[in-house]
Each structure stands twice: as C-alpha cells, then as structure tokens.
C-alpha cells in the first residue's frame, strides 16, 4: 500500500473548514424530503420542479423494480455437508428389486440424495445379474405424487399411533372371539418377511379341525391343523410347475434352469426370454450360447400360441393352440421315449397348420442327441402337463445338469386357493383382511365381489389401488427404495434391500406394521438384523456377524453355503397318469392371456415410461388389445392399423366375461387363437395407469388358482373403431439389408465375401470412372480427424439382442427423454432416443418375385405383408454417430456438429428447429420437440418433468430440452465425460469399461457394447473387426460409429 494521497481541490488539500463540513454531508444541498413526505405540512413544501421529477423518477423506478419478480429457487444449502454426499458426484447403493415375480439385485444411483437410476448389481452372481425395463423404470415410481403420504382411515388422514391403537384393538377383538385374520400377500423370498409372517401367525392363526384317514382309508379321527393367516396370491401364478415338482420330487419348488448348458432348448408356450419366471437370468444363459463363434450354438425350438420374445428368437417355431400345449408335450414325450427305447405318452393335435408334428420329431431328435445337455420348459399352468414335461426332462437326464431343484427360485411361491378364501369371506368366516403388496380386488373378480363381506380391511399399499380404496385403514408402506428388506431369490443366495433415500412421506415398512399389530415393537431393520443373526450368521460372534452384515449391505449380496445336489430330490413321477389326466378342450376360438414385458401383472401400471415402452413384438404402447393372426382378420378387421386406419373393436367373451378390446394383427399368432394382455384397465391409479381393459375377470379358476388360457371364447365385431398407438406401422424389411441374417451352416462354411453365398459382403460401389471401390473411399467431404484420441463407438450383436427393451427405458431415464403419451405415439412422434425395430419376415422376397415373375409392383406390395407365421428380428436403433453425418451438413446454424471423438453432437440451444437434419437422417433417429412437453397441458400426468415431485427423478447431468429443438442419442456424452474425468483423476488412460452408455449398461445379454474404437484392446473394436459386423444403410456413405453384428440362426434355411 502506498501512502500517496490524492486531493481533488485546493480546498481539500488545505482542509478548509467549509469544505470539511460540506464533505460530510451526503447531499451538497438541502433536500426537502422530510417536508415532502410528511403529511402535516405538505402544502408548505417548496419542492422544486426538479425535485418533483426526481421523486417521480424514483417512484417509477422503484415501482418497476418491485414489479419484476425474481424467480425464487427453493434450494437449501447444506449447513453441515453429509460426509458421503458431494454435489455433482453420484453415490451408488446396493439394493434389491422384488415385485410381481421379477427379482433383481440392483445398484441405485443417487445424486444429492435422490435416487435417479437403477442398474444391475455386479456383485450379484454374473449369471443372474441383470435388470428388465420394469426394474430400471421403477425408479420414477418413487416420486409418484399419487402415493399415500401417510396413514388413512376411511380416506381421511390419521396419525400412526392412532391407527396402530385402533387396528390393534380391532385385531385383539377378533382374536378374542377366535376370528380369522387373513394377510393377502404376494409371493416373497424375503426371509425376514417370512419371519414376520410367522410372528403374525403365532398371534392370529386359527386352527381348523381336519379329518384324518388311515392307510385303509378309514376315518381315524380328527386333528387340529394350524391355518396360516397368510394367503399367497400372485396375479400371475406358477402353481402348475410347483405342483408338478411337488408330485414328482416331493418339493414344490421352481428349479434353476441353466440355459447356458443346454444345446437343445424346447419351450412349449413358455416365454422364458420374456415374462416367464426369471427371464433375465434365462436370457443371459441363453444368449451366451447363441454366439455362432462359440464351440457350439444352441438350437431352440419354440411351440407357442402367440409370438413371444422367446418365439421371436427361436430357430424353429411352431404355432399351436393353447389347448394343444398338453398334446405337444405328450407328443414330445412319446418321441423322446421312442428314441430312448421305451413307450411314452402319445398325443395328437387338434389343429396343425404349421407342420408341428414334424417339428416335434426334429426337436425330439435334437434333444436326444444332446441328452443331459438340453432343456424342455413349458409355460402351462396345468400340473399334469408340467409333469409330462418333467418326464421328458427326466428321460433326457436333465435333472442335476440343466435343471437343479436344490437351488430353487424362491421369488415365486405356491399360491393359496383364492376360491377357498373367497368362500370363507362370503360365509363371513374371515373377519379381517390385510393386503400386502397385493391387489386382489383388481386381479380376482370373485374376491372383489366378496371383499365387502369382511369387517376389517387394511391395506399396506404404498399407493392407491383397487383394493386399498375399499379398505377401512390404509397403512402405507415405504417404496422399496426407501425401505430395508432382505431376499433369498435362489436358495443359498441372499440379497439386501437397502434404502437409498429417507422416506418421502409418512410411511412405514409393511412388515413393521404387521409386527406392531402382533405386539412386536422393534423396527423392521432391527428385526431383519435379528433374523440374520439367528439364521445366516448363527454361531458367529457379534463382531464377525456385524462385519458380515456390513459387507452384505454394502455389496447387496450374501452368498450362503454352497449346496450339493440333494439326493432325496429324486424323480418319482408318473408320466402316464399325468398324461392321462390332461384334458384338452378345443374351441372355435381360443385365448391366451399373457403379461407384457413392460406392464407385467399391472402393479406398475402408473409408470408412464413403462406404458410408453412398446410391446417387443406388437410394438404397440399404452394399451392392451386382442392379438390375432392377420389371416383371421382378413376382410373383417383392419390389419395395418395406423393413424388414419384405427383398429376395429371386438367384443370378446371369455368364460362368460365380456370385454371390448381393439384387435391388432400379430403375425405368428396361431390361427384361430387370440391373445390378451393382463395388467391393464386399472381404475384406481394415476392418469398414466388408467389405460386398457382389465382382463383378469375373464380368467378361469382351476384348483383355486387362475389359469391363463381358455377355449370358451366368442368374438363379435363391436362395430366401433379405436385408435391404437403403435411405434411401428410398417413391419417387414422389404428385403433390404437392414438386419443382416444368415444361417449357422452358411456362417461356418462360407466366406462372408463369397461371390455367390457371401453372407456379409463388403459394400462396394463403382466410382465415376467405373472403378469398384469400398464405400468408405467414395467421399465428398474430407475425413474427420478421428484416428487420434478417443473415438467412441458401439456394437450391437443381433444374436444376443432378445428385444426385451431394458435399454429403452434405461436410456430414457438416464437422458430425461420426455414421455409423450398415446396420442403423440399414434402420430408417429415418439421421443425414443433408442428404439428397437422389429421386423417380421415376409413370404415374398426379391428372389421369389423373380422366379414367380409376379411383377415388381406386386412384388413390393406383397413384401409389405408379413408371413402368417414369420421369423422375427430385433434391431436396437439409436443415433449412428456417422462420421459423415448427413445431418451435420444441412443444419443452417451449425447446431449439430462432429466432435473430435467421433460423436455427432447436438447443441440444443443453438438449434432453431428447421428439422432438415431429421429429414436427412437415413435412420430417422432425430427427435423433434413438437411441444413444450414440460408445460403443455396435453402431457400433464404423463410426462414426469411436469410434476414438482416427479421432476426429482431427472438426471441433473442432462438438460431437459425445450420446445422446438431437435434431440437425439448423445452416446451418453455425460457419462463419457465423467468416465474420462475419473480416469484423469486417477492419472491413467481411459480403460475399456470406464465409459459405458446407459443402454449398454442396462442390456442384460451384453448385446450392446460401448467403448473406444481407437483402443485396440476394447471389445467394441474387436466387434467392429469381426466378420459379422456391418453398418446399417452403409451405401449412403454415412460411415456410422455403430456396427451391427449379423444375426445367425441355427437353422437350415431362413424363412
């Protein structure tokens, strides 16, 4: 600091007294403010014109400023920063998802305390680790503002202590008089939940007198049997498999099916890649052996009614009626037994228009050739059919090889008879019913009719459903991301469910509620710990137990002791008797009820992401419908439904229940059958969930539980039309090399560039001088400098892609892709950054057109129609990040440009929205923000970004796009950046696996690989260099950074 002093006048320098006095005044002249502002002597003021103007100027200025409202941002800084939370850095917590028969061990991504993304837990055994769309999309359900925000009594808010007192009193009264309390609960594999049930049973179970018969069938007397309070009820049950195993092995379990060991796979109406049991695990095992480069590639036969995901991926597929499932099982048993040299069951089909008999024989031959290394699964809920299938597997020696009973899949349990429960409710025996993770009023018609007879109804649901709205008390449980729990999905494999956020509302774990009501006042967390200490950690000292507990919580997984095959689980089935018991009644029409990959049993219906996710096969979103073979619709119903050609509505009566549903053409559906998805038609849920028609009331009950097919069907035209929202309105590939396909034998024997049979020829074109050159050399533009540094690329193995759609929802959640609703989808305006194209094969090909000489116009017309029983291919399509991107050259404002790392970048705030780029994109992956999805009233209740609470799920790393700009896949650029940053902080180069896009991360079958193409060791580089890789529409010269890998089917020829 210098001591220099500056003076601004001589008076200042000399410090004249007058100057000093003046300098201390704020205003050099007297300002008559006081006079002017005081009311008393206002008339005496001598405010000058200047003053008046000053006051006026000030007043106007002040008034204007006051009128401008500063936007209020309600953010509260951490006073004390939690140790583990760093703003901008994500925390991952291991947890579990178990709902609706789906189980996943998961990692939950939280940002600033908010869970925003779910992916598979890599600490969980690799063979089973994966998420489905329902799992990764479930994160937005946490923020559903439709959830119960606290306990309710008859619709009004009540405190927890009051509700506990009242319920305890009522339950005590019931216990006093020896009444019955029933807990209707979903199947659970949770040891602590089961322990809770045991505690509850201790308190409330009743005893019934049962007559006991001796071996001579004479009445010996009576015995008191404890009748559990818990009624296991799943909307979609698997009692067929469980009962068959109980009969054949003495244990009602779902075994572990190991598809990775099966050289021949025969599935009879089981969509094991989709919604059947543990689909993710099966997909993983299955796709492991679908790689043509491997030592062997499995051969997959599928016999089924409707085109399922498994059917779409099958090598040989046969369409059968639901009533013929048993017959196919019998035929297969007979054929296998014949090869084994013994007599087996025999059956014949009521209707065979798809060469089933021959296919069954082929299947039997292939099964026999792979004895002990094959697998037969069946989706029927008839125990007799399942026993025949068990018989086949036993003949083939698959037990303890591909099927292991000792490691049971516990997520699905034997369901109790709803018929008995309903009967008891109607007769007034049941005094109280508690709903836990179950909604029988919606999914069981008889129950719904009887529920009013029950005196005390309590729901533990976390959000309103059809059952909870009828309840006297609602004691909402936490959402699973807020709650502690434990699971044992497979025997010996334990997982933890760890909360990733504090409960948003005044909720309480359902188990804790039950415990409280039977007098146990511990928290559920303590209860779980107790359970574990007494079981899994039994015998361990406190310190070891704590360590084990902590590591289990941290990794989310605890592996129990390794199990040896149980000797006592020997096969003792009687196939002959079972086969004799199979009754198949055919009908003019038959129906198969199924669960969609997206909606499942309907519990997650109010999830807009899941509603918008199209069905993998039909590609229809936001509805359920009747699926029908196009040949059955010919001349009666609209086959090619689109925006201007709405679907026809039919009135379907199944088992006496009539529903009006639109009818949608589904090639591959057995002629004379229809399919209807369950899980729709929810009435007591949020805006997004109230779509479609509830098909549960049409289900027939057999042995107390529902069966999912029927022959008592009649269909009539309702004379109405209905708008269907389909994301794809053209279903065939028009014989273009969009999905490149070949057979295993061709793949093995023929060079890919072979002149005649080359199955993946390099694209070449003649240049202006007639010289044939690789496409890459024919350039108008200079190459981007992409050979240095990183060059991000993606490879998609079409052999591994099952079409499940987990990548689609993962992409949407990661990138804040707006949900646009049915009407917009119907107008072909989905916002999917990543879509899965599904193509059916057609009877007409260019080759056939030439040989049959049908004429080019007619040939192309016929190509538009899928075969009645087609083959199916799936192709995930996202921005191909072309190195010569047609979109980049046409943007007038340079809003889309190429990065030095090979990315095709979209600068939203530079975009003016001419949509020229979208027109010029050969892949049509660019999406335009037609509306302001975040504000426009059309999307209220659908688009999560519109809701204060749901907005919390948005990824803070990705901007929410405004109206009028183009958006598209960015290769998850935010993840690339963070991956690079992590590597940089660690002071090392980026490794393969540091950067993984959301879709790649979500893909349970590793079909999508992401990485650096300039890294010679990356898996994506290896895939690019593979013989199978090709680029979509490469002839256009786009030079994409996404390579597809030729689909190879294990068949003789491609249909």
């Amino acid at each position: 600091m210098s001591d220099k002093k500056y003076w601004n006048s001589v008076d200042h320098l000399e410090e004249e007294p007058l100057f000093v006095e003046e300098a201390q005044k704020e205003f050099s002249e007297a300002v008559p403010v006081e006079d002017f502002l005081s009311k008393s002597n206002l008339s005496d003021t001598s405010a000058s014109r200047r003053d008046f103007l000053k006051f006026m100027g000030f007043s106007i200025g002040a008034a204007t400023l006051a009128a401008c409202e500063t936007p209020v941002v309600k953010s509260i800084p951490y006073v004390v920063k939690p140790e583990e939370v760093t703003p901008g850095v994500a925390n991952w917590y291991a947890s579990s998802f178990s709902k609706g028969g789906t189980f996943s061990s998961i990692l939950v991504k939280t940002r600033e305390g908010r869970p925003i993304f779910i992916k598979a837990n890599d600490a969980y055994p690799e063979a089973m680790s994966g998420v489905t769309a329902r799992v990764n999309a479930s994160v937005i359900e946490l923020y559903d503002d439709n959830r119960y925000q606290g306990p309710q009594k008859a619709g009004t808010t009540i405190g927890w202590s009051d509700v506990d007192t009242e319920i305890s009193k009522k339950l005590a009264a019931i216990k006093e008089k020896g009444g019955t309390v029933k807990v209707v609960a979903e199947s659970t594999s949770s040891p602590s939940t089961l322990a809770t049930f045991a505690k509850f049973d201790e308190m409330f179970s009743t005893e019934t007198e049962v007559e006991v018969y001796g071996e001579d069938a004479l009445l010996k007397g009576t015995e008191m049997v404890k009748d559990s309070c818990v009624v296991t009820f799943d909307p979609i049950n698997y009692n067929g498999v469980l009962s068959a195993n109980k009969a054949d092995f003495g244990k009602a379990v779902i075994p572990t099916y190991d598809f990775s060991k099966a050289k021949t796979i025969v599935s009879i109406d089981a969509d094991f890649l989709g919604d059947w049991l543990d689909g993710v695990t099966y997909s993983k095992g299955y796709t492991q052996r679908r790689k043509p480069e491997g030592a062997w590639m499995s051969k997959h036969y599928q016999f089924e009614t409707m085109m399922s995901m498994a059917g779409a991926n099958a090598d040989v597929r046969g369409a059968i009626k639901p009533s013929d499932v048993g017959n196919v099982a019998k035929m297969l048993h007979g054929a296998v037994a014949k090869l084994a040299g013994s007599a087996g069951a025999s059956g014949s089909l009521s209707d065979d228009d798809n060469n089933i008999a021959a296919k069954v024989n082929d299947a039997a031959k292939d099964l026999w050739a792979a004895k002990g290394k094959c697998l037969v699964v069946c989706g029927s809920n008839d125990a007799n059919i399942q026993q025949v299938v068990n018989g086949i597997n036993n003949l083939l020696g698959n037990y303890n090889n591909t099927i292991r009973l000792e490691r049971a899949y516990n997520v699905v349990q034997m369901n109790d008879s709803m018929v008995d429960l309903t009967k008891n409710m109607n007769s007034g025996i049941v005094d109280a019913v508690i709903f836990m993770d179950s909604n029988p009023v919606y999914s069981n018609a008889a129950f719904a009719a009887a529920v009013s007879k029950v005196g005390l109804k309590i729901s533990l649901a976390d959000r309103p459903d059809e059952s909870s709205v009828l309840c006297d008390y609602v004691c909402p449980s936490h959402f699973f991301l807020e709650a502690w729990n434990d699971y044992q999905p497979y025997t010996g494999v334990f997982t933890m469910q760890q909360p990733a956020i504090r409960p948003l509302f005044k909720t309480r774990a359902a188990q804790e509620s039950l415990l409280r009501w039977c007098g146990v006042n511990t928290s559920y967390y303590d209860f779980i710990k107790e359970t574990w200490t007494s079981t899994a950690f039994a015998g361990a000292d406190a310190l070891t137990a704590t360590n084990k507990w902590n590591s289990a919580v941290q990794s989310g997984v605890y592996m129990g002791a390794k199990m040896a095959p149980e000797a006592d689980l020997a096969y003792s089935g009687d196939t002959g008797a079972a086969a004799g018991n199979i009754k198949s009644t055919t009908g003019e029409w038959e129906v198969k009820f199924y669960a969609k990959q997206s909606i499942g049993n309907g519990a997650q219906a109010n999830n807009p992401h899941l509603q918008e996710m199209p069905d993998p096969i039909s590609k229809v979103s936001w509805d359920n419908y009747v699926t029908m073979n196009p040949s059955d619709m010919e001349g009666k119903y609209e086959i090619r439904t689109a925006q201007a050609t709405p679907a026809n509505v039919v009135s379907v009566t199944v088992n006496g229940h009539t529903m009006e549903l639109p009818v949608v053409a589904l090639p591959g559906q057995k002629r004379g059958t229809i399919g209807i998805a369950l899980g729709y038609g929810r009435t007591e849920t949020g805006t997004a969930g109230k779509v479609g028609v509830n098909a549960y009331p049409a289900l027939e009950m057999k042995d107390g539980v529902a069966v999912y097919s029927s022959s008592k069907v009649s269909i009539a035209d309702a004379g109405k039309t209905y708008q269907i929202a389909s994301v794809q309105t053209h279903h065939t590939m028009m014989d273009r090399k969009i999905v490149n396909e070949t057979t295993l034998s061709t793949f093995k024997a023929v060079d890919k560039n072979d002149d005649v049979n080359g199955w993946n020829k390099d694209s070449k074109l003649a240049d202006a001088f007639g010289k044939v050159r690789p496409i890459k050399e024919l350039n108008l533009w200079a190459d981007h400098a992409i050979e240095k540094g990183h060059r991000w690329g993606m490879s998609i193995d079409l052999n591994s892609c099952t079409g499940c759609g987990a990548c689609v929802t993962a992409c949407h959640i990661e990138n804040n892709v707006p949900v646009v609703g049915k009407d917009e989808i119907r107008r072909t305006r989905s916002m999917f950054w990543l879509r899965i194209d599904r193509y059916f094969s057609s009877d007409m090909t260019k080759e056939k057109g030439k040989t049959d000489d049908v004429g080019v116009v007619s040939m192309y017309k016929q190509m538009e129609n899928p075969s009645d029983y087609p083959q199916v291919v799936f192709q995930p399509v996202m921005c191909q990040h072309c190195n010569h991107a047609p979109c980049e050259t046409v943007c007038p404002v340079a809003a889309t440009t190429h990065s030095e790392e090979g990315l095709n970048q979209m600068t939203y705030n530079r975009c003016v929205g001419t949509r020229y780029c979208a027109n010029n994109c050969p892949y049509k992956v660019r999406r335009f923000n037609w509306f302001n999805y975040n504000k426009d009233s059309k999307f209220t209740g659908i688009n999560p970004a519109q809701n204060e609470l749901q907005r919390m799920v948005l990824n803070p790393d990705v901007v929410v796009r405004s109206r009028g700009v183009i958006e598209k896949c960015s290769f998850c650029v935010q993840k690339i950046q963070s991956g690079k940053l992590t590597a940089k902080k660690a002071g090392r180069p980026v490794k393969d696996g540091d950067v993984v896009s959301a879709c790649s991360e979500a893909c349970p079958t590793n079909a999508i690989q992401f990485g650096d193409l300039n890294d010679s060791k990356s898996s994506v580089r290896a895939n690019f260099d593979d013989d199978r890789s090709y680029f979509m529409a490469e002839e256009v010269g786009t030079q994409p950074n996404v390579a597809y890998m030729t689909k190879v089917r294990n068949t003789e020829n491609l249909a």
């Binding site: 053209h730 192309y860 340079a894 003016v912 979208a918 302001n932």
Partner: protein, 457 residues
C-alpha cells in the same frame, strides 16, 4: 420508329388513344370499387385472418399442432414454400427475361405479374420462418456478427443458401417493380385531385417529371436490373431445389432438380399469372390490353415448360431404374404405386397431361379453357411439391420408420390463409396501383395498336 408487320396480332385492341390508355389504367385507382371487389376483399380478409390465427396458434403452442411426425418432418410447410416461390417466378421472368428478349407483349402483364411475384415471395418467405421450431431465433440463420463467440452460420447448408437466394430475389424484384412503377405513379399523381392521394403518390413517384433524361435513365436502370434479375430467375429455384438435391433422401437426391425446378417454377408462375389476369381483365375491364394474344403467348410458355417438367418426371423414373439403387428404385415405384399414388396421379394429370391440349391452337386461344387449365396447373404444381417432399420422406431407407402424413386443420388453415393474405394484398394492389405499365404501353400503341395497324393500309 419501330415498325411491326401487320400480320402480327395487335397487342392493344380497340381504337385506343394515349389518353384512353391513361383513363383505362387509372380508372380503378381513381374510381370507387364495385361490390365484387368488396366481396372478394371481405372473403380474403376473413381467410387471411384465419390463416394468421393458425400461425399464431402454431407459434404459441409448437409445431406439434401440425401433422408432421418424426419420419415426415416437412410436409405442407415446405410444399407451400416451394409452391409460392415457384409462383413468384413468372413476374421476374416476364419483366426481366422478356425485356431482354424485346418481347413487347410482356408490357400488358408485367406489372401484375411482378406484383404477384412480390406477394408470392412474401408468402413463400413466411413458411421457412414459421416452420422453425423456435421462430424467435430465426435471425440466427443470418450471418450476423454476434456475441456468442465465433458462432457463424453453416455455409454448407442449402437452407442457408435459400436465405440468401430468397432475400436477394425479393429485394431485386421489389426494386425492379418499383422502378417500373415510377412513371406510372407520376401519372396518377398528376391526375390526383385530393390532397392525401396526391401526397402519397408524389412520394411514390420519386420526383418523376417525365424529362427525356429521366426516361433515358429509366430505360438504362430497367435494362441493368433486368440483367441482374435474369440470373436470379434461374438461381432462386435452382437453390430451392438444392434443399432436396443435396440431401441423401431417395427421391430428393437427384441432379436433375435445378433445371426441373426452374421449369416447374416458370410453369406454375405463368399459370398463376394466367389465373389472376383472366380474372383481372374482366374485373377491371382490361380486355383491350390483356388480349387473347397475351393469353395465347402465356399458354405457349405453359405448354413448353409443362412438357419440360413432364420430361423431367420421366427422366427421374428412368434414372431411378438405371441407377440400380434399390432405395431410389423403390422411392419412385412407391410414388407412383404406393399409398400416395393419388397425389402422383394428380400431379401427372394436372401438370403433364392436361396442358398438352394447348398444342391445339383453338384451345390455347380459349379464355375459359385457359383459365381452367391454369387452375389445374396450380393444383398440379402444389401436388408436385407434396409428392416430392412427402412421398420421399414417408418411406425412406429403414422400413421401420415408414409412416403416413396426415395434415391437421392448422396445416390446412395456414395454407388457405396464405392464399387469403395473398389475395388481400393483390386486391389492395389492384385498387391502388397502376395495374398496367401504362407509360410503357403507350410506347407500343403506334406500332402494335389495333387502330394504328389498320391505318397502315
């Protein structure tokens, strides 16, 4: 003085004198409008307001109120744009190219044709604006110095070329039109009695006093501007066609587009001039000036350009087949036989087949048939653009994207609305501007006037 053979059809019918020409042309400006004009004006205003309402709705809510989708990202918007630009071609062609070629018959029609050009280009320019998702950022397509750092427009983009082409064409056309108007404004000014019109026309007349020196300069400027405008006639639509030709979309990616589009533009421009003038000559009684001869001349241009367009259509088909590219082959097959076959049939019939009857002399001299055919061509040329844009986009490379386009009431409203705005402007023009280049006409009265031709005997 210029002599013209008497066998040539006179360009001014009736025994017109210089004074009568002045009277005839000034009559609509000085007199009161008839009921027909008011009726037409009212309808046009209503339609224009409806269109403006639709535009405001679009800007207020988003492009989603149109029928576009992720596969067909342009449809009626760009169809209308190209259609209006095409219509805007005749004016400059008539005034500039025909001036250079010394075609005297242009004098009766060039003023209205140019007015039509100006208004049509205004309508055309509207669409690239409102079709933008963020019209409030539309100025970003101009290469303006800015505060965004080094952000500049993308000179590779044909849309940017469009911006330059259209704006240049519009300014040159406007200047050319205005220069031509100056002597005629002066005439009206001199005849005006009321103070307000007199003042306005005085300003518009730009101090014209009719001196020989001014006439010399007038002629020189006209010639220079004609020279400048002539290449523009060809460049504008060539550049518009490059929006499509430089893309990769099958059906767009075609080297024939520039000449084909120019021919089409002249074709549609003349058809629109025909439509307007056949009405105008009746409404403002200009039968003596816009004669059958004029109509026939325009019909000849229509049949020639129409045939060129027809050849272009056939060439496209041939090249698609000859290219051996399956996407290209299918694109054209789909145009003719796919779900939009009716649009293609409409285009073929209106643009190629019906104008062919103009090869019959009697027909091309028939005013009624000329009018009908001109309407056909207007419709056909709209469909041509629709066919090019929508049928190429709706089924391109990847079949999973294939879909249809369905216009909404907003799409239709905006299109009809621009026709309304166009007619509002044209009707106002007809009442306030000299609809014929009266001073120029006078220069040919003694060579091509009916009465003077008779006197030569």
């Amino acid at each position: 003085m210029h002599q013209e053979s008497e066998i040539r059809y006179p360009l001014i019918l009736g025994d017109k004198t210089y004074h009568q020409i002045t009277e005839d042309v000034c009559a609509p400006v000085e007199g009161r409008a008839n009921k027909l004009w008011y009726a037409a004006f009212t309808i046009s205003v209503v339609v224009a307001l409806w269109g403006l309402g639709c535009i405001m709705y679009t800007i207020g809510r988003g492009i989603g109120v149109w029928g576009l989708n992720t596969t067909v990202d342009w449809a009626w918007d760009i169809t209308n744009f190209v259609w209006w630009v095409g219509i805007g071609h005749a004016g400059t062609l008539i005034s500039a190219v025909l001036l250079l070629f010394r075609q005297k018959w242009r004098m009766a029609i060039n003023r209205s044709a140019e007015a039509m050009t100006i208004f049509a280009v205004m309508m055309a320019a509207l669409f690239p604006g409102i079709h933008m998702g963020r019209i409030w950022m539309a100025y970003w397509v101009l290469p303006l110095p800015n505060q965004f750092g080094s952000l500049w427009v993308n000179f590779n983009s044909p849309l940017l070329w469009d911006v330059f082409a259209i704006s240049t064409y519009f300014s040159v056309s406007l200047v050319f039109w205005y220069i031509g108007l100056i002597p005629d404004f002066a005439t009206i000014r001199d005849r005006a009695t009321r103070i307000i019109p007199k003042t306005i026309y005085s300003v518009l007349a730009f101090g014209w006093s009719g001196k020989a020196k001014q006439w010399i300069r007038f002629e020189e400027v006209s010639l220079v501007l004609a020279g400048l405008a002539t290449p523009l006639v060809f460049s504008v639509h060539s550049i518009v066609s490059m929006d499509f030709a430089t893309s990769v979309v099958p059906g767009w990616h075609t080297t024939i587009f520039p000449p084909y589009f120019v021919a089409g533009a002249i074709f549609s421009g003349f058809a629109m001039v025909q439509t307007l003038l056949i009405i105008a000559r009746k409404v403002v009684s200009l039968e003596s000036y816009i004669t059958r001869k004029h109509i026939e001349s325009m019909n000849i241009v229509i049949v020639i350009t129409g045939s060129m367009v027809g050849i272009a259509y056939l060439t496209e088909l041939f090249i698609a087949w000859y290219s051996g590219v399956e996407f290209e082959q299918y694109a054209f097959l789909n145009r003719a036989t796919g779900p939009y076959w009716w649009a293609y049939a409409m285009m073929m019939t209106c643009n190629v087949v019906t104008p062919l009857i103009f090869f019959v002399e009697k027909v091309r001299k028939s005013i009624v048939i000329s009018f009908i055919i001109s309407i056909f061509v207007n419709i056909g040329m709209w469909f041509e653009r629709f066919v090019i844009i929508v049928t190429s986009l709706h089924r391109d490379f990847i079949p999973s994207n294939w879909t249809m386009f369905h216009p909404t009431f907003v799409d239709i409203g905006i299109f009809i609305g621009t026709i309304g705005i166009f007619f509002v402007l044209f009707l106002l023009y007809a009442r306030t501007f000299p609809v014929l280049a009266l001073n120029e006409l006078k220069s040919i009265l003694k060579s091509s006037g009916d009465n003077y031709k008779k006197q030569q005997h």
